[in-house]
C-alpha cells in the first residue's frame, strides 16, 4: 500500500515537487554537521549582526578567480550615529570546499573536521549573516531545523496511540463509560488550543536540560491534539463494531482489549494516515509559535521558532532581513506537507474520489 501511495504522490505534479523539497530539507538536516560551516554554538562576538557574506568569483582585475570573500569590519559613524559594516578589502579569504574547519562529531558519534565549505582560519563565511551573538544564521538554521522538523512527528507518535485507544475504548464499550470519556474529551477540546499550549509550556519547571525540555514540549503538543482525534476514532468504531467479524471475534471469546486493538482499530488505518499527514504542519506551526514566544525550545538551542524571536524587534526587521529566513523555511516545509497531505487524502479517502 505504501508503494502505491508513493506512486500516486509521484504522479501528481505538486506532490512531486513537495516531496523533492522535503527530501532536500531532510537530507540537509541529516547532514547538518557537515554542511554547516560552523557548529551550533560557535559565536564570534565581534561579528554580531553581520550581513550575509558577499562571495566574489571575479577579482578586482576582472578575471575569474576561485570564489573568495572578504570579512566585514564594524565601524561606528560619529555623524549619523550608525553602525556600519564595511568589507575589509585588504585580505581575500578563499573558500575551501571539503576543507578542514571546526571539529564536530558526525551524528554525535564519528569525530570529523571536514565541512562542505569553509574559509581559512581568520576568515568568516556567513551565508545568511549572523545574529545578535555573532552566530552563523545559516548553520543554526540547519541545526534548528532538526528540532523544528522532527518535533511534530514525535508529537504525532505520542498522540495517535493515545487517541486511538481512547476513542476505541470509548466507542466499543459505549454506555456510561462512553459518555464520561467523551465529555472529558469535549472539555479538553473546549479550551482554545493555543491557550492550553502556552499554559502547559509555562508551567514547565525551569532548569531542565535541553533534551528534557524537548521531550516535554513533544508531550505538551501531543496533549493538545488527542481529544479531537479520539472523537473521530470513536465515531468510526461505533460503526465498525456492528460488523460481522467483530461479532465473530466476540463469540470465540476474545477479550475486549483484543477486539479493540486487533480487530477494530486496524480498520481505521487509512484514516489515521490521512489525519497524520494533514496534522504534521499544524504541529510544526505550534512548536514554532511556542518558541517564538520564548516558551518552547530555549537558547542556546536553536529552532526555527526561537530564531524568529529576534524578528520581534523593529530594527531587526528593517535593517537585518536575513534574520527572517527561518520563517520562509517554516512556510516552505508546511506548504510541502500540506500538498502531500492533500494528495494522500485524495488517494486514500474513497469519498474524495468524486473530486
Amino acid at each position: 500500500m505504501i508503494r502505491e501511495l508513493f506512486k500516486a504522490l509521484w504522479k501528481d505534479k505538486f506532490a512531486r515537487i513537495a516531496l523533492v523539497i522535503l527530501g532536500i530539507i531532510y537530507v540537509s538536516l541529516f547532514l547538518a554537521d557537515f554542511i554547516a560551516p560552523y557548529t551550533k554554538d560557535f559565536s564570534d562576538r565581534t561579528m554580531a549582526y553581520v550581513p550575509p557574506s558577499k562571495i566574489f568569483t571575479i577579482d578586482e582585475n576582472g578575471k575569474f578567480s576561485k570564489p573568495y570573500t572578504y570579512n566585514y569590519v564594524r565601524e561606528f559613524d560619529q555623524n549619523t550615529l550608525e553602525i556600519k559594516y564595511n568589507l575589509d578589502r585588504s585580505k581575500k579569504h578563499y573558500i575551501k570546499f571539503f576543507g578542514k574547519g571546526q571539529p564536530y562529531k558526525f551524528l554525535g558519534l564519528v569525530p570529523a573536521k571536514r565541512h562542505l565549505f569553509t574559509t581559512d582560519n581568520d576568515g568568516r563565511i556567513f551565508l545568511l549573516g549572523t545574529d545578535i551573538n555573532g552566530r552563523d544564521v545559516f548553520s543554526r538554521l540547519l541545526f534548528g531545523g532538526r528540532i523544528s522538523m522532527t518535533i511534530g512527528f514525535l508529537a504525532l507518535f505520542v498522540l495517535f496511540p493515545i487517541g486511538l485507544l481512547y476513542g476505541g475504548i470509548s466507542g466499543y464499550l459505549g454506555g456510561k463509560t462512553d459518555m464520561i470519556m467523551m465529555r472529558f474529551a469535549e472539555g479538553v477540546m473546549s479550551i482554545p488550543s493555543f491557550y492550553l499550549l502556552i499554559i502547559l509550556a509555562s508551567i514547565l519547571p525551569s532548569g531542565m536540560t535541553s533534551s528534557q525540555r524537548f521531550m516535554l514540549i513533544v508531550l505538551i503538543l501531543a496533549l493538545i491534539g488527542w481529544a479531537g482525534f479520539a472523537r473521530v476514532v470513536r465515531g468510526m468504531v461505533l460503526s465498525i463494531k456492528t460488523e460481522d467479524y467483530v461479532q465473530a471475534a466476540k463469540s470465540i471469546g476474545a477479550s475486549k482489549l483484543r477486539i479493540i486493538t486487533k480487530h477494530i482499530l486496524p480498520q481505521t488505518t487509512s484514516f489515521v494516515i490521512v489525519a497524520m499527514t494533514l496534522s504534521v504542519p499544524s504541529y510544526i506551526l505550534s512548536e514554532s509559535g511556542l518558541s517564538f514566544l520564548g516558551l518552547g525550545i530555549q537558547q542556546p538551542d536553536a529552532s526555527w521558532g526561537n530564531m524568529l524571536k529576534e524578528a520581534q524587534e523593529f530594527t531587526n526587521i528593517l535593517y537585518r532581513p536575513w534574520l527572517l529566513t527561518p520563517g520562509f523555511l517554516i512556510f516552505v516545509s508546511v506548504l510541502a506537507f500540506n500538498l502531500i497531505g492533500d494528495t494522500i487524502r485524495d488517494v486514500l479517502d474513497p469519498k474524495s474520489k468524486v473530486r
Binding site: 505538486f14 465529555r183 472529558f184 469535549e186 472539555g187 479538553v188 477540546m189 473546549s190 479550551i191 482554545p192 488550543s193 493555543f194 491557550y195 492550553l196 502556552i198 499554559i199 502547559l200 509555562s202 508551567i203 519547571p205 504542519p281 506551526l285 514554532s288 509559535g289 517564538f292 514566544l293 520564548g294 516558551l295 524568529l308 524578528a311 520581534q312 523593529f314 526587521i317 528593517l318 527572517l324 520563517g327 517554516i330 512556510f331 516552505v332 508546511v334 506548504l335 500540506n338 500538498l339 492533500d342 474524495s352 468524486v354 473530486r355
Partner: protein
C-alpha cells in the same frame, strides 16, 4: 415547539461541559509549582491585607478539592480576584474580551463573504485552471505561520507608514469625533484582520468546495439537470442550500481556530485582546488572570459552538425531526 425544546436542551448541555473545562484548567494550573500569590506578595503597592484576603478567597491552606470548590463558587458569583498589579481581573477581562470578539467577528464575516463564493466557483469550475489556482493560493495562505506573516506586515507598515504600528487606537483617541474614532479603529484593525483572514480563508474555501462537489454529484441535482433546469437554478437553488448546511457546523470550529490564531497575531501587533492578555499573564505567572482568561476563552468557544448548533437546528429540519 420542538425547536425551542431542542435548543433549551442544547443550552443545558453546555453547563456540565463548562464544569469539566473549569476542573481541567484548575488542576492544570495547580500542577505548576508556582505560588499563586508570589507576584502579589512582591508587589509593594499591594497591601498585606489584600494578600490575606486573596489567600482566604482561594483557600490556599485547604486541600485542593476545597480550593477548587471555593474558586468555582467565587467564579460563578463573578468575583475573579485581582491581578498581580492589584487591578480587578473582571475589569481587565471586560476591557479585552470585546476587542477579541470584534477582531474575530470581522474575520469570520469576511472569510464567509469571500470563502463561500470562492468555494462555489472552484466547485463549479472543478478541475479547470481557475480551480487549481485557487487551491494553490489557499494552500499558500494556510502555510504561512501567522506570527511570521504578522511580522512581515508590520515591516511593511513601518516602511511605508501607511498603517499604524500595533495597538487598537491612536494616543489621541479620546479627543476624536465619532467618525474619526471609527476610522481610527478600522485603520488599526486592517493588518491583524488581513493576517487572520489569510490563514482561515483556506479551510473555509476548501470545505465549501468539497460540500458543493458532493452535492453536485447527488441524485437530486442530476435529476434537476435531466429535467432541463438551467444551470444557474441548479447551482444556486438546489445545490447551494444543501451545501451550506454543513458549513454552519464549521462556524464553531472556525471560531475556536481563530481564538487560538488570534493569540499570536495579537501579540505581534500589540493588539489589546484576550489572547495577548493570557500571554502576558502566563509570562508573568499571574495565576488569577490566567485562570480567568482561560475560562473566558473556553466559554467563548462553547458559546460559539452553541450558536452554530442553534443555527443548524433552524436551517436543517432533519435535525429537529431526529430529536
Amino acid at each position: 415547539m420542538d425547536t425551542i425544546k431542542y435548543i433549551i436542551k442544547r443550552i443545558l448541555q453546555t453547563i456540565p461541559l463548562l464544569i469539566i473545562v473549569s476542573m481541567i484548567s484548575f488542576f492544570i494550573i495547580r500542577l505548576s509549582p508556582v505560588d499563586p500569590l508570589a507576584e502579589l506578595k512582591l508587589n509593594p503597592s499591594v497591601s498585606p491585607e489584600t494578600v490575606e484576603k486573596e489567600k482566604a478567597r482561594l483557600g490556599l491552606d485547604k486541600p485542593i478539592i476545597i480550593q477548587y470548590g471555593k474558586w468555582a463558587l467565587s467564579f460563578a458569583r463573578g468575583d475573579l480576584g485581582i491581578t498581580s498589579t492589584g487591578e480587578k481581573v473582571s475589569q481587565k477581562l471586560g476591557e479585552r474580551i470585546p476587542n477579541t470578539l470584534l477582531l474575530t467577528t470581522i474575520v469570520i464575516l469576511l472569510t464567509w463573504l469571500v470563502g463561500v463564493p470562492l468555494g462555489i466557483i472552484a466547485a463549479v469550475r472543478w478541475k479547470t485552471n481557475l480551480d487549481r489556482i485557487l487551491t494553490v493560493l489557499t494552500s499558500i495562505g494556510m502555510a504561512i505561520p501567522s506570527f511570521f506573516f504578522a511580522v512581515l506586515l508590520l515591516m511593511f507598515a513601518v516602511k511605508t507608514g501607511w498603517f499604524p504600528i500595533g495597538g487598537l487606537t491612536s494616543p489621541n483617541f479620546a479627543d476624536m469625533s465619532f467618525g474619526a474614532k471609527f476610522w481610527d479603529i478600522t485603520h488599526h484593525l486592517i493588518l491583524p484582520v488581513i493576517v487572520l483572514f489569510t490563514i482561515s480563508l483556506a479551510g473555509l474555501q476548501r470545505q465549501m468546495r468539497a460540500n458543493m462537489l458532493d452535492v453536485l454529484d447527488s441524485d437530486y441535482v442530476k435529476f434537476a439537470r435531466a429535467k432541463g433546469v438551467s444551470e444557474g437554478v441548479v447551482i444556486y437553488k438546489h445545490a447551494l442550500r444543501n451545501a451550506l448546511n454543513p458549513m454552519i457546523t464549521l462556524l464553531g470550529f472556525e471560531f475556536a481556530g481563530l481564538l487560538s490564531g488570534a493569540a499570536l497575531t495579537e501579540y505581534v501587533f500589540q493588539y489589546p485582546g484576550l489572547g495577548r492578555l493570557i500571554l502576558e499573564a502566563v509570562l508573568k505567572s499571574d495565576i488569577n488572570l490566567v485562570m480567568a482568561s482561560l475560562m473566558m476563552g473556553a466559554i467563548m468557544l462553547v458559546i460559539g459552538n452553541l450558536i452554530a448548533d442553534i443555527l443548524l437546528i433552524i436551517t436543517d429540519p432533519r435535525i429537529r425531526s431526529k430529536s
